[in-house]
């Protein structure tokens, strides 16, 4: 990031304002072009690396070829119609079927060429068609495969992480004012519990609330059989959301509060905060003007990055709770070596990340007068 921290802005002489504005515009424009160019290069490199890794440098072709032959031979063997075939006829049949399938998957073209095609299509957001996966509604379009899972993912991850983020900040702010209190010490003591991932808590929650007390469902998104009206349906979804979101929240809550509380403590001990307190400002004013304000860039950065991580889902937690999210889609795509889906998920994440990074630079300049874009 190309930013510069300056001292207090100085007053400009009036006749030079137009020229200064022009200079500022040119500076921002130059910065924008350069930044976008660099981000695009980064995205392209990142996506191409993903393509190479997902295909094990082309070795996946060998895997798929082996699987195709195995699958076709088994299918042939199951079918009594092939009993009348001579061995050489069967061999010819297998060869034809293998050729067809390899053609369908593009395995008849060198991986190097395909990898370039994957990249160029991805950069143009032409997500194309999956090789082996279907969307829940049965479409092979990568766009639909992703879109169908987006809503459940955003529901789970969005609710959990937003709650976690704002809850942590709120509690941390409070604790930063009560350093050494019993609650502060409790949070510090509990923070190591965040070393366990969400699915770990999820398993326990299922055991306690679903298996033993039977008050909440084991998983899934709705009751079986599904409710027939919209209100009941929504309530059912909320009921199914409780355990997975609780697992996500609990697993990260204490460490998150601890981190923010420590962060706020540092700012709380600044001289200008003590000065504000000495002036007799209320706690609320001190928090909002003297603690929160200077920490805004950090909070915004965290929030921005949080928003795009919602996109990735939570593979194991979704699996434990049978939640139909993008994490499971990604996991399945990796297992099936379905490159178009993997690339589709990656390119969207990459673009979102690049956009966030770009926007954050601008937001920094807005919220912090010391920051100057492209300076």
């Amino acid at each position: 990031m190309s930013v510069e921290v300056q001292s207090q802005p100085s007053a400009e002489i009036a006749p030079k304002r137009r020229s200064a504005a022009m200079q500022s515009f040119m500076r921002v424009a130059k910065y924008t072009v350069l930044k976008v160019f660099m981000l695009m290069i980064t995205v392209a490199v990142g996506v191409y690396l993903t393509i190479l890794i997902a295909n094990m440098g082309g070795y996946v072709d060998q895997i798929l070829k082996g699987e195709i032959r195995d699958r076709i031979a088994q299918g042939l063997n199951r079918d009594p119609q092939f009993k009348a075939m001579l061995p050489e006829q069967r061999a010819e049949y297998v060869a034809n079927e293998v050729a067809l399938e390899e053609q369908r998957l593009g395995l008849n073209r060198p991986f190097a060429l395909r990898s370039i095609a994957y990249l160029t299509n991805a950069l143009q957001m032409e997500l194309g068609r999956a090789q082996n996966m279907s969307s829940d509604s049965g479409s092979r379009q990568v766009r639909l495969i992703i879109l169908e899972r987006l809503a459940p993912t955003l529901l789970l991850m969005g609710f959990s992480n937003m709650f976690l983020f704002f809850g942590s900040i709120g509690i941390a702010l409070g604790l930063s004012r009560k350093y050494g209190s019993i609650w502060d010490k409790l949070i510090v003591a509990m923070s190591p519990t965040s070393s366990a991932p969400p699915w770990f808590y999820g398993v326990f929650f299922i055991l306690i609330f679903a298996a033993i007390f039977r008050v909440l469902p084991f998983g899934g998104m709705i009751d079986a059989p599904p409710p027939t009206n919209q209100v009941d349906y929504a309530l059912s979804v909320i009921k199914h959301l409780i355990l997975p979101s609780s697992a996500i929240i609990i697993s990260a809550m204490f460490i998150s509060i601890y981190n923010w509380r420590t962060f706020f403590l540092i700012y709380s001990s600044e001289d200008y905060v003590d000065m504000a307190k000495a002036k007799g400002l209320s706690d609320r004013d001190v928090e909002s003007r003297y603690i929160l304000r200077p920490t805004l860039p950090t909070i915004i950065t965290n929030f921005g990055l949080l928003v795009i991580t919602l996109w990735t889902g939570a593979i194991i937690t979704e699996t434990v709770f049978q939640w139909p999210g993008l994490g499971r889609t990604a996991y399945r795509a990796i297992g099936l070596y379905d490159t178009p889906v993997i690339v589709g998920l990656t390119i969207i994440y990459a673009y979102l990340l690049a956009l966030t990074v770009f926007l954050l630079d601008i937001i920094y300049a807005i919220v912090d007068p010391r920051v100057k874009i492209g300076g």
Partner: protein, 859 residues
């Protein structure tokens, strides 16, 4: 300070509890059951004719369709299945479970469960270098498994009982052959099998001795550390061990590695999933020397009536796996190559000839030893104690066609049941080329029907939509009937009628007759005649349309139209299957439309007469469909908007036809509207003989109303209607079809397999030279097993050395009672010592033979 310490202690306690929680015994994840399938030819001769219907004692009902009002299918992981059933969240988990801890948990929770033969396991060897110096051509390194003697000795090196007890908790069955121990072939050749099993029992010393001798003969020597070396290099075996599937192949591979290390080999254990290891053992070149052993496993799709094709499949370079260098590396004698081919192609003329061939083939497999069979795995599906359902002894619950007809709450009609499955809606659903996942097949079974229903306990079909059948065989082939619904006869030749249909002309959209295609006449090996009842046309599709001959004819048209170049529905992916079908097909003829009588001619035959009955039914490869629904999908395909198969969809860059969701629905609706507006009759030159424009209009209107009500196009005739589909949430709701033609209790007799229990009673001390008599009692649930349901009671007598002395049939005394008499000469031949009498009971209602042994002393 005290507070700080308190907090520290509290924090430590929390961490400690988490660590302890994480230290619980690991439970390996259960993934999909198998990636492989066994040869499933389905024939077997039998000369015992029994009543068609099994004894049905259940009270009659007036209810039609399924027993339940509603079945909701929802996704449940295998790991959570027992817990969820115990907690009442689901009533049935339909997929396979096989871990020993799951068996214990299910029993502890008091759940009911099925038992089925699921996967069978073996060790595959890389024979590269056999007869060519015993070294890998690419590396020059010694390949011990190039030696048939080493491969044979592996049978003694592997303790199958240990594997069964330690890895499978005693739920598996030790295995020496590809034949599955629960299927008919096993019982049929039990004396040959038992002799070979006795010969190849675990014997580490013998294995070591034979392998050592062979290794030395190949030029290997043991170094100071006791390790085998060749050209001063340690012989390192690369063992490909599958880490996916049910997880049992890891401990199995580790155990066998330990055994090999115990006799002087070093073993590199290469763990990997199916896809990671397939490039090595399936598509790799065995001569590269990248592996020596592989933990193989194969699955069963149903009760197999014959496994005669196994020898070609597993041991011959003429296998369907002939494209691999592995199978090409199998070198058989000319005699055995021909023997395996003949067994696979049913090239024998009598049962006696077949028996001799099978016995020879069984023995020969040890001579080649290209694989060592380890165990027959057994799986189960659990359900609530107040639920009952029929299960297939091979396929379990979920893909047993009888589940929709038998699933119920005990002694209750109606109710709503929750059905757990590992997945749903994996691929698009369409009958012609849609999803072939078992997870999708299970709900489709509930909406479909069929001409004949496979008996889940024997694999022999029983009539469902047809009333009876005739089978005519040309020549003297070993074909026999088990049930009386089939009338079997033999003739010298079968002439196919000139007006039978044998091919399709895509341009004129008419069938080509045998007379047109074969002016000089055509003969067939087999003719089957299916007689449908008059009530056939009382059947209604789920959209209210009446069943019609046109539905049947449409299915036959589609068999040809999708695989023929020049057809607007041509699909390259279907062409090969059509060629295979036409390889044996000799024509079909609709003899009568009402009642429907259909003749079918072919050169493909099976030893069970029932399997030779070919019924015509509007069943496509992946589900049933009425002609008007197919017409809609055809229209979309011809317009280039949809495609039935993934291949064509990919090539055409259109959506893969999905009858239940996605973009396909709107496209199909548009095409439905167009067809309805035009009053279109598909393939009018042919189907116009059966469909009037008014009937077509009525059908399209019915379908439109059905789509309006249910929101999909999956229209069947089965006992349940697909009512609601939640694609993202992964739920399917099936509701009872009150218009189903059969009463709900039609298949009630199949709730539990009638597996016999056997006991032997007799003197434990027998005088050498004196006659000895043993009583055999055969029961089912405590009651005597009816004699007319017993195919045979065999006895096998072993002496104190474990050698087979005599094999014979027990004499029937009364229902459930048999007698085995050992003559004075026989007891003399035993000499003094401890002997064993094994009884094998083969019952007609089930394929699983019952065994028991009785030990006695001769003195």
């Amino acid at each position: 300070m005290i507070k700080n310490r308190l907090m520290l202690v509290l924090g430590l306690l929390v961490i400690a509890s988490m660590v302890l929680g994480a230290c619980q015994p690991a439970t390996p994840a259960t993934t999909e059951p198998t990636d492989t399938t066994s040869p499933t030819d389905t024939t077997s001769p039998t000369d015992t004719t029994a009543p068609t219907e099994e004894v049905v004692e259940a009270p009659r009902t007036t209810r039609k369709g399924g027993w339940l009002d509603q079945v909701t299918m929802t996704v449940v992981t295998a790991d959570a299945a027992i817990t969820q059933i115990s907690a009442g969240a689901v009533d049935v988990y339909a997929s396979n479970l096989s871990r020993p801890q799951d068996v214990i948990a299910a029993d502890a929770a008091g759940l009911e469960r099925s038992f089925q033969f699921g996967i069978y396991y073996e060790i595959t060897y890389n024979p590269s270098g056999e007869f060519e110096g015993n070294t890998f051509p690419a590396t020059g390194k010694l390949n011990p498994f190039a030696s048939a003697a080493v491969r044979e000795a592996m049978n003694w090196l592997i303790d199958r009982n240990y594997i069964n007890q330690e890895i499978y908790g005693g739920n598996a069955v030790p295995k020496f052959f590809s034949l599955v121990s629960g299927f008919p072939e096993y019982a049929k050749y039990v004396e040959t099998i038992r002799g070979l099993e006795a010969r190849y029992q675990y014997d580490l010393e013998r294995a070591d001795a034979q392998i050592s001798a062979e290794m030395e003969a190949m030029g290997a020597v043991k170094n100071a550390d006791g390790l085998w070396t060749y050209n001063d290099e340690v012989v390192d075996l690369v063992f490909l061990i599958r880490s996916d599937s049910d997880g049992t192949r890891v401990p199995m591979g580790d155990y066998i590695s330990n055994q090999l290390e115990a006799i002087g080999f070093t073993v590199t254990r290469q763990y990997g999933s199916s896809s990671e290891l397939a490039p090595l053992w399936v598509s790799g070149n065995i001569d590269d020397g990248l592996w020596h052993l592989y933990t193989g496993a194969w699955g069963v799709g149903g009760v197999s009536r014959t496994d005669a094709g196994d020898f070609q499949f597993f041991y011959s370079p003429n296998s369907v796996y002939a494209f691999t260098t592995l199978w090409q590396g199998y070198t058989l004698s000319d005699e055995d190559l021909a023997l395996y081919d003949d067994l696979a192609n049913s090239a024998y003329s009598s049962l006696e000839e077949r028996d001799a061939m099978m016995a020879a083939a069984l023995e020969s497999t040890f001579k080649y030893g290209y694989r060592t069979w380890v165990v027959d795995g057994r799986a189960f599906s659990p359900w609530q104690p107040n639920v009952s359902v029929a299960f297939d002894l091979a396929a379990g619950v979920d893909i047993n066609p009888l589940w929709p007809h038998t699933l119920r709450f005990d002694d209750a009609e109606g109710g709503s049941l929750n059905w757990g499955t590992p997945d749903l809606f994996v691929d698009p659903a369409n009958p012609v080329g849609g999803s072939n996942w078992t997870y999708d097949n299970q709900w489709q079974l509930a909406t479909n029907d069929r001409g004949v229903m496979g008996n889940p306990h024997t694999g022999i079909p029983l009539p469902q939509r047809i009333e009876r059948a005739e089978v005519v065989i040309a020549g003297e082939l070993p074909v026999g009937a088990t049930y009386d619904w089939v009338d079997l006869s033999f003739v010298d030749t079968i002439e196919v009628p000139a007006d039978a249909w044998i091919d399709w002309n895509p341009e004129t959209e008419t069938f080509i007759t045998v007379g047109e295609a074969y002016p000089d006449g055509l003969t067939a090996v087999r003719k089957s005649v299916s007689y449908y009842p008059a009530e056939l046309f009382d059947i209604t599709w789920h959209d209210g349309s009446s069943f019609d001959v046109a539905d049947v004819v449409m299915a036959m048209i589609m068999t040809f139209a999708t695989g023929m170049e020049g057809s607007p529905l041509y699909d390259e992916a279907q062409a090969g299957a059509l060629d295979a079908f036409k390889g044996g097909f000799k024509g079909f003829k609709i003899v009568s439309e009402s009642p429907l009588v259909v003749e079918f001619y072919t050169d493909v035959w099976f030893e069970d007469a029932e399997l030779n009955v070919t019924t015509l039914w509007p069943a496509y490869g992946y589900g049933d469909a009425a002609w008007h629904v197919i017409a809609v999908a055809n229209s979309a395909e011809i317009n280039g908007e949809l495609a039935y198969t993934a291949d064509k969809a990919e090539a055409s860059e259109v959506e893969w036809t999905n009858f239940i969701g996605g973009p396909s629905l709107e496209i199909m609706k548009t095409n439905l509207d167009e067809l309805a507006a035009a009053g279109s009759v598909p393939f009018a030159a042919t189907l116009g003989m059966y469909i009037t424009p008014e009937e077509a209009a009525a059908r399209y209107a019915n379908l439109d109303a059905f789509y309006g009500q249910y929101g999909h196009f999956w229209v069947g005739t089965g006992p349940y209607i697909l009512s609601q589909v939640f694609l993202v949430e992964k739920q399917a709701v099936l509701v009872n079809n009150p218009n189903y033609i059969d009463l709900s209790d039609k298949w009630a007799g199949f709730a539990a397999p009638k597996i016999a229990a056997v006991e032997v009673d007799g003197s434990a001390r027998v005088t050498v030279g004196a006659e000895a008599i043993f009583d055999v009692f055969v029961t089912f649930e405590g009651a005597a097993y009816p004699a007319d349901e017993i195919a045979g009671v065999k006895y096998i007598l072993y002496n104190s050395a474990g050698e087979i002395v005599e094999v014979g049939e027990a004499a029937p005394v009364a229902d459930g009672q048999y007698s085995v008499t050992l003559s004075g000469a026989t007891t003399t031949s035993l000499g003094a010592g401890s002997n064993k009498l094994e009884i094998a009971v083969v019952a007609i209602p089930v394929s699983v033979p019952a065994f028991t042994t009785f030990e006695f002393v001769t003195e």
